[in-house]
Amino acid sequence: MHRRLFLEGSLAAGAVSMGSFSALFSAKAMAEEVKRQGKKCILLWLCGAPSQFETWDPKPGTETAGPFASIPTVIPGVHVSELMPQCAGILDKLAIIRSMKTEPSEHFQGIDVLTRGDGPRPPFTRPILGSVVAQQLGQLDSPVPQFVLLDPCPEGNEFKSFKAGNWAGWLGAEYGPVRAGGEYSIPNILRPESITETDHADREALRAFLSRKFENDQASVAAAGYNAAFARVKGLMSCAPLFDIERLPDDDRRRYGPGAFAQHALLARNLIENGSTFVMVANGMPWDNHVFQHEMHQMLVPELDNVIYQLVSDLEQRGMLDDTLVIAMGEFGRTPWLNDARGRDHFATAWSMAMAGGGIRGGVVHGATDERGFDVASDPVDNRQLFATFFTALGIDPNAEYDLGDLPTFHRVEGNAEPITSLLTAG
């Protein structure tokens, strides 16, 4: 409405003298940019579900153990898998939960619950963690996308179908992720040479004018989401270099290692440093090792070990660790026993995850499994408690009620779940 009034005023004042048509529409554009001292979050999404035994909860000397030894860490009495020597050295900065106990043991349902925080309640779609954090902590007027999904692998079985779904849910499309990664980069991110920058901006201003008129006249939700997506184009184009892995220092790229997952974790750091609020790094669904579990984990875990080490160290060195929550987890864990293909199958009964920075206390191991890892022995943690902990660490009220008009009542975390206070830094 402001826009329309402004436009009429401008036309009355003689629009023909203006150099750029789009200037007509920039009424509010330079509104003061309040920089919130918001927290940020990087989710290393280990899709497919890693084994707790080859990472955070080794079971040396039992039949569960597998071929890998356990090693001591800087926290006395706490051991991790020998595949994670670097994390062992900074365990005082990490928090481990060894007593995750969740329901779904199928990928799609597990991904749903562990990325949204709760199971589905059709026809309503709960927003994914990144959308909630971007909405709560992000700066929507920033040109840098607030929620980014970096995923170099377009495939990934159930994760592929999950990716095709609605991530932002009832928050609306503007809180959905910008997706990028790998060679795929962001398609069509550059302006074609056939059109000048001015014309490109002008015709978009005209498009927005026409399209918003329809949105308002029809009270159209679909058009609102559509227009919100277009509104992000210019900003995204302006920060295309942030997504360019080639521009990052060679030394950084070497430290993180050659793998696509590691390179994208580095890119996540770059985006967080430059204004993104939530970056989710995935790589298809590589952790679902029903076959040759040990061989596969022998490749995957050391890369993860290094990525966590580099990321936490870099953030700390830049003074950003206290404000940046790093989460590393999958949708469940793996069975204590091996199947006939020497794989470990899905196991949601007792599994592990790790966190660091951003309101999380380092050096804490929460909960425990029994001797062979068949079940949680103490302090079980479900998805709701886990999400209450994430939100609290990020300074977001976990129990707040969504304001959804006529929809049924939804809370950010259902069931009044409490955060795990021993994992939170004081205050």
């Binding site: 329309r4 436009l7 009429e8 036309l11 629009a15 023909v16 203006m18 750029s20 048509f21 007509l24 199928e106 026809p123 779609t125 996308p145 779904g165 609605n166 932002a168 499309a173 959905g176 910008v178 997706r179 962001i186 398609p187 069509n188 991110i189 550059l190 302006r191 074609p192 056939s194 059109i195 014309d199 490109h200 002008d202 015709r203 978009e204 005209l206 498009r207 026409l210 399209s211 008129k213 329809f214 029809q218 009270a219 159209s220 939700v221 679909a222 058009a223 989401g225 559509y226 227009n227 919100a228 997506a229 277009f230 992000r232 184009v233 995204l236 184009m237 008009g405 006529d406 929809l407």
Partner: protein, 587 residues
């Protein structure tokens, strides 16, 4: 669970007993026809009961009898409206207003012809004073070539999945696309189409390309099973590969592997008369293991249909192949076929007269016109997904079965309802799209968008395949469960080459945009462009804005450059209109 309690009981009783129950209920429902509002209840229970136990042998139930059950399409439309209106009244909902002729003509062209109307088509409709002009237009469009093209567009994706590049080209080269077009042009009965695709034994040259449904899956029997279930039965079965469905008990792991077994004796062979799936008389026996590791044989069973009997060799026994197990094809030059053919058994014993075949199809046709299925998503019609209006789904299913699986009749009836002809503006206080209390807005499919842009700016709706191909890569969805615009599409429309090339083509004489550019004044051009794209005149505010835009850059330039610049400016206006929500969405 959408099954009423009574029916859940029926599910567990033995098949034979349940047949009796179902028939009793059918009989009762017939006697109650005269009270339409309640008659449907017993009828519905009966149908659900039969469906749930899946008595699907050949001729499992009588076709709904005529004439009472065979209303004219207009009566069917009225019956549909009656169900919806009763539901609104029960829920205290005031539905959206009726739409204007202007809104109707755009909507119905998009839904039935797959594109917006041309300026002339639109004007002809609006000039028609006849009271039945909407009905006449629906009938005309259903008989049009555009309709055949549109249905082929949609069903190519629904049956085969989105393809691009070489795969699309193959579908054209091997005649698949032509087969689809011809089937919809002739309004071929859906059960006939289904059987032809699934048997894949063409008895006439016209049906040669129907084999492509199986052939493109390239001997991947699981892929075939996972395609057959949603395409013809409205069920997704992927999860049942490893275990009985955890959300819908009726979808068992045995059905997944049973469906695989119906097809696993086929082998692709490129013959002189085209692609064929040659079937063996032996083999295809295996065991599948559930999560606990228990093995079961892959019997020929699907969705609780009677398991097709077949002698099964002992686990380690060698099964000799022999010519005696085969018979020659009835059509000369075709591959021989096994005397016991699993594919033939599937078609004759499972597919033929299977109630889900009609039920899945009418739900899909409803979704095409109304924006979502009576069961949503439209291809997950299992017990985990409820039916918004059960009696309505039964009504449509029965009518479809009673009228020879007539696709066009169902489309005609739905498009003729008042419910279809309601405003897309959601009434206050209603949130649930499953009420169908307003017309559900949704993005145009890639084909609808491309054909509409092509018509408005180039001048014809015959859009080159490569244009459809490049636009469908960026807009792959057809009947999406939800419509959410990500950032990829705005980037594609803003910076990609496909739309830009279409606009540039339009600017070349004698195409439509060039003709608009040649109009005497900028205001004339603006009005003409609005009419061609949005089917309406610009508002004064829009006129003024666009006038300012067109005047933006050519104040002082020499005339030659000014003319080039104004052409470019007009192309930007065209871009802004076709990427605006009003054009991009169906409403």
């Amino acid at each position: 669970m959408w099954l009423p309690q009574r029916i859940q009981v029926a599910v567990v009783v033995r098949l034979s007993e349940c047949t009796a129950i179902a028939h009793t209920m059918l009989a009762k429902s017939r006697t109650r026809r005269q009270t339409p509002r309640h008659a449907t209840t017993a009828w519905h229970l009966a149908v659900v009961g039969i469906m749930a136990v899946g008595i699907v042998s050949n001729g499992w139930a009588d076709e709904p009898e005529s004439p009472e059950a065979s209303p004219r399409p207009a009566d069917l439309s009225a019956a549909i409206d009656a169900v919806l209106e009763q539901a609104w009244s029960d829920a205290g909902i005031a539905p959206a207003d009726d739409i204007t002729d202007e809104a109707f003509v755009r909507r119905v062209y998009l839904d039935l012809a797959g594109r917006i109307p041309s300026t002339a088509e639109r004007a002809a409709f609006l000039a028609d004073a006849a009271s039945d002009r909407r009905r006449v237009l629906i009938t005309t469009l259903l008989a049009s070539e555009d309709h055949a093209q549109h249905m082929a567009d949609v069903f190519d994706v629904l049956l085969m999945g989105r393809a691009s590049g070489r795969r699309t080209q193959e579908r054209h080269e091997h005649g698949w696309r032509r087969w689809l077009e011809a089937a919809f042009r002739d309004n071929r009965p859906w059960n006939d189409m289904a059987e032809t695709m699934l048997l894949a034994r063409p008895s006439t040259p016209e049906d040669d390309a129907a084999t492509w449904f199986l052939y493109e899956r390239n001997n991947d029997y699981q892929k075939i099973a996972e395609a057959v279930a949603p395409a013809f039965f409205g069920f997704r079965i992927e999860c049942a590969q490893c275990h009985d469905s955890m959300t819908a008990a009726e979808v068992e792991q045995a059905h997944y592997w049973g469906l695989v077994a119906f097809f696993n004796r086929g082998k692709n062979e490129m013959t002189g008369s085209g692609p064929r799936i040659v079937e063996s008389a032996i083999g295809g026996f295996s065991e599948f293991a559930d999560i606990e590791g228990t093995s079961s044989p892959n019997l020929l069973s699907f969705l609780e249909a009677d398991t097709v009997e077949e002698s099964r060799p002992a686990a380690d026994a060698e099964q000799p192949d022999s010519d005696e197990l085969y018979e020659p094809a009835s059509r000369e030059g075709e591959p021989r076929q096994p005397i016991f053919s699993r594919r033939e058994r599937f078609v004759e014993d499972v597919v033929r007269d299977h109630p889900l075949l009609a039920r899945a199809m009418v739900n899909r046709l409803w979704a095409m016109l109304m924006g979502r299925g009576l069961v949503h998503p439209f291809d997950e019609m299992d017990s985990a997904h409820s039916v918004s209006h059960p009696e309505l789904l039964d009504l449509l299913t029965d009518d479809f079965r009673a009228h020879g699986h007539d696709i066009r009749r169902t489309l005609q009836a739905i498009a003729s309802t008042r419910a279809y002809q309601r405003s897309a503006r959601k009434p206050d206080g209603v949130e649930d799209p499953a009420t169908f209390a307003w017309y559900l807005e949704r993005p145009l499919s890639a084909e609808q968008f491309a054909r509409s842009v092509h018509l408005a700016l180039v001048g014809t709706s015959e859009t080159p395949p490569q244009v459809l191909d490049s636009i469908s890569r960026a807009m792959p969805d057809v009947l999406p469960d939800e419509s959410v615009t990500g950032i990829a599409e705005p980037l594609f429309l803003s910076n990609g080459s496909a739309l830009e090339e279409l606009i540039q083509q339009g600017l070349q004489p004698p195409h439509a945009l060039a003709a608009i550019a040649a109009l005497p004044s900028a205001d004339d051009a603006t009005r003409s462009l609005f009419l061609a794209t949005l089917g309406r005149a610009p508002s004064p505010e829009e006129m003024a804005t666009i006038a300012a835009f067109l005047a933006g850059h050519n104040q002082t330039a020499p005339s030659q450059e000014a003319s080039t610049a104004s052409l470019a400016r007009l192309s930007h206006v065209a871009w802004a209109i076709v990427t605006s929500a009003e054009f991009r969405f169906h409403h």
